[in-house]
């Protein structure tokens, strides 16, 4: 073994220790709730709590709505820009990058100012309005990832030939989009969807400042008041992230690494 290879192994080992230690420690900590012996008490307490189930359900529903809306916005846009409006490509790409440039805390501050209860469109004034506002905020968070995933998938299928073939059969734009293009870029849409889910399910900043009963603020409250449950929740959250991103590999989409 050369000296360089030894150094490389050392770096990999050091990295593995840094990245695995918190997972091991968190798991170990989550088992300590019962005095003197390891148990899954912390997990049982968490799963049995109504606040956990309600906030998790709320965030799941919101994440699913977010995914539908972000896909409905991105698929036609990416398709038409690629095929028929290429001069919009620059501005559209710039817009999809904005959510990565504007910090969430700044954007939500803008929402509160623009859609506050004394504004022309007082979304924060009603519960449903605030839910919608939170969802649109999450659509923004998912936008960069969904756009990249869909655009990469469109690039791979030769959308132009498919479109021309469908047009020669007399299909209109909407029908082509839904019945020809969408099935062919399914893996791209799904990778974007799973990544979006992983990002928004435990999101804290938007949900907390819009006063929504979401999973992120629930996590924060538990962290401030309990000892062992937070560790159990961290393991649950890590497993969720891992599962969402693992599903991307399963559906054969772009690796999450290609994101930004």
């Amino acid at each position: 073994m050369t000296r360089g290879r030894l150094g490389a192994w050392a770096a990999v080992a050091l990295g593995a220790v840094y990245f695995l230690a918190p997972l091991v420690a968190t798991f170990e900590f989550s088992l300590r709730m019962r005095r003197g012996q390891y148990s899954f008490d912390a997990y049982e307490t968490v799963f049995a709590s109504g606040a956990f189930r309600e906030s998790f359900l709320y965030s799941t529903v919101l994440a699913l709505a977010t995914i539908v809306v972000v896909a409905a916005l991105v698929v036609p846009t990416a398709y038409f820009v690629r095929l028929r409006l290429p001069r919009l490509a620059g501005i559209v790409e710039f817009i999809t990058l904005l959510p990565l440039v504007i910090p969430a805390i700044v954007l939500v501050f803008g929402y509160i100012r623009l859609y506050g209860s004394s504004s022309a469109l007082p979304l924060t004034g009603s519960s449903l309005g605030a839910d919608a506002l939170l969802m649109f905020g999450y659509v923004g968070l998912g936008l960069p990832y969904m756009y990249r995933a869909v655009d990469t998938a469109l690039q791979a299928i030769d959308a132009r030939t498919l479109t021309e073939a469908a047009e020669s059969q007399g299909a209109g734009s909407l029908r082509i989009l839904v019945e020809v293009i969408l099935p062919n870029i399914r893996s791209g849409v799904l990778s974007g969807a799973f990544l979006t889910f992983a990002i928004v399910i435990g999101e804290f900043t938007f949900a907390s400042l819009l006063d929504r009963p979401a999973f992120g603020p629930y996590l924060q409250r538990i962290g401030a008041s309990r000892a062992y449950e937070p560790a159990a929740l961290a393991i649950v959250a890590f497993a969720l992230t891992w599962a969402s991103l693992g599903l991307i590999h399963l559906v054969g989409g772009a690796s999450p690494g290609a994101k930004r």
Binding site: A8, T26, T77, L88, P99, V101, V106, Y115
Partner: protein
């Protein structure tokens, strides 16, 4: 020429279905990305009565705000610098270090997950690891190294930096991997054949190739840390006064006692993340053209 005139006519005619298809996207962008930000920008240049002023930005110099920005800049710079170096080293080791083949996919998959594992749960994980009763703290104490007796605390600058590195290093790995892959093995062999020392190879070949990606990655990491709030808030509550936490308190309860000063603070944060992101994107564009 019939085809030329046909395509000319086609170009002149407005493509209604296509424009209709992209309209919702632009409406969304205007309502939920551009106008809210523009509203803050406008508010930052107004006084309480709505008249134009620069005074809000001058008042960002008051101690509480200045210190919060300074602390944020320091923590972002520290986590970006360490994260970038460690991420680059890890990518080089896994992709070009001659280690086993399984290391590469393992590292890339893990990095995809860990770079998205931020926020509140990450804070919990590090409390359980390096908190006063955390596993690593306890184990090290048994080995005779009492971190907390040496001034370490998870709720301080270095505690937060170590925590941020958990998503910063993987993000860097993902960002520099294409550049590291672009470093052809043949070049190292050619340099060696021509009698170059390892130092000369790194200084004259590898470094110039990696530099745009590495610098760009550092800036991305910097912006990434600067805008983050959930991890710090869950870890330290409102006691650790970085800029996003102060802004959070301002949105919640107008702690600065001046909404317009709050808008100026938001714009100041946006300027910092905006500039670092734009330089990152410019550098990435250069790097992507080279490795395509």
């Amino acid at each position: 020429m019939p085809t030329a005139s046909a395509s000319l006519r086609f170009a002149r005619r407005l493509d209604w279905p296509a424009w209709l298809g992209v309209t919702p996207f632009f409406v969304f962008a205007a309502m939920f990305l551009i106008l809210p930000t523009a509203g803050l920008l406008a508010g930052a240049f107004q006084d309480r009565d709505g008249a134009f002023t620069f005074a809000n930005f001058l008042r960002l110099g008051q101690p509480s705000i200045r210190l919060s920005f300074a602390l944020s800049l320091e923590i972002s710079a520290a986590s970006a610098a360490i994260g970038a170096l460690a991420g680059l080293a890890l990518a080089l080791a896994a992709l070009r270090g001659g280690v086993a083949d399984w290391v590469r996919p393992a590292l890339m998959t893990f990095s995809g997950v860990a770079s998205n594992f931020a926020g509140v749960p990450l804070a919990f994980a590090f409390m359980a690891t390096l908190g006063r009763l955390g596993l690593v703290t306890v184990l090290l104490r048994q080995l005779g190294l009492d971190l907390y007796a040496h001034g370490f605390n998870i709720l301080t600058f270095w505690g937060l930096t170590v925590t941020y590195l958990y998503f910063q290093i993987p993000l860097m790995v993902l960002v520099v991997a294409p550049a590291v892959d672009g470093l052809k093995r043949e070049w190292a062999e050619a340099a060696e054949t021509l009698g170059a020392s390892a130092w000369q190879y790194w200084r004259m070949i590898a470094l110039p190739i990696l530099l745009p990606s590495a610098l760009g990655g550092s800036l991305l990491l910097f912006a990434n840390a600067f805008g983050a709030i959930a991890t710090a808030y869950a870890l330290t509550g409102s006691s650790f006064n970085i800029a996003p936490i102060l802004l959070y308190a301002q949105i919640r309860g107008d702690v600065l006692h001046d909404p317009n000063l709050g808008y100026a603070m938001a714009v100041g944060m946006l300027a910092i993340t905006g500039v670092s992101n734009l330089v990152y994107l410019a550098l990435r564009g250069r790097a992507e053209r080279r490795f395509r």
